[in-house]
């Protein structure tokens, strides 16, 4: 699956799944998803974990994996591609 496609799916998921008030196209690839970046908190992360696991059929089992995988859009895309290649 190609990187650009996954990236746009991830951004769309952030907007629709987490009800962000900005268009998907305006989310920068390297902006932190949580904290200052998109203004989401560690509890929003729970919902993102569930949405990502469901849509991309990957597993984010714990905090350690989650922290890395959900650091930014780029990090999440890398994680999804790596998990799918595994």
């Amino acid at each position: 699956m190609d990187r650009d496609h996954v990236r746009s799916e991830v951004k769309q998921l952030l907007v629709t799944g987490l009800r962000l008030q900005i268009p998907a196209a305006e989310i920068a690839d390297d902006v932190p998803i949580f904290g200052e970046g998109l203004g989401l908190d560690s509890i929003d992360a729970l919902e993102l974990v569930v949405l990502v696991e469901e849509q991309f059929r990957v597993s984010i089992p714990d905090e350690d994996v989650g922290r890395k995988a959900l650091a930014s859009v780029n990090a999440l895309v890398d994680f999804i591609l790596a998990e799918r290649a595994a």
Binding site: I43, L46, E47, V49, V50, E53, E54
Partner: protein, 251 residues
Amino acid sequence: MSAAGKRVLVTGGSRGIGRATALAFARAGNAVGFNYSRSEDDAEATETLAALRATGVPSFASCADVCDAAAVTQLFAEARDALGGAVDVLVNNAAVAQDAPLMMMKDESWDRVLDVDLRGAFLCCRAVLRGMIASRWGRIVNVVSPAAFVGQEGAANYAAAKAGLLGLTKSLAREVARFGITVNAVSPGLIETRLVDEMQGERRKEIERQIPLARLGTPEEIADVIVFVASPAASYMTGSTVHVDGGLAMR
């Protein structure tokens, strides 16, 4: 009043409060599963399952130890298959007691009680949350004890586990409130169950004398409150404890 049409899992459901709770949910029209841990519970589990089936709702039973993470994962996968979807209502009822004055308490007694009564609830909560967040609705009811509030001689392990479960209840209630999931505790007092029967005679009588309603409760009296806490009627309640103890603790 009941949360009909939900998928319910009751831990430690083969007898006592767990069995009464499973049956109360089934009679209210919910699909109900339960687990039980020891092979010696097989006969009781079979009996409970038959009673559930007789109500006509989807039901299942599984022998699974709640302190075994792999077994818990397996249990909830089985529940999903048997009940027709992810569990909407979790009742953490499984508990053991191994009493001794603290000075004489064995390491194993401390560990076992903390494992089943506290870690087991943690593992089961963790196993259901993904499904509840996905459906943006869920009810978790943790069965605690007056021991969590007022302590209990000879049961420091049990009291510590149940007080810990209260801390879990309140913390998790805060974490998942925004997803439409409520987490509450029900605190049964002295109830006619085997766990209480195992208590020594003198201490039991002494406690009975301290109950304002002057009698033990029945498992059904607890089950009704647990079903209520999981129902739409209790939708604005989270992180709370309902004391169903004949006035024992009066918190």
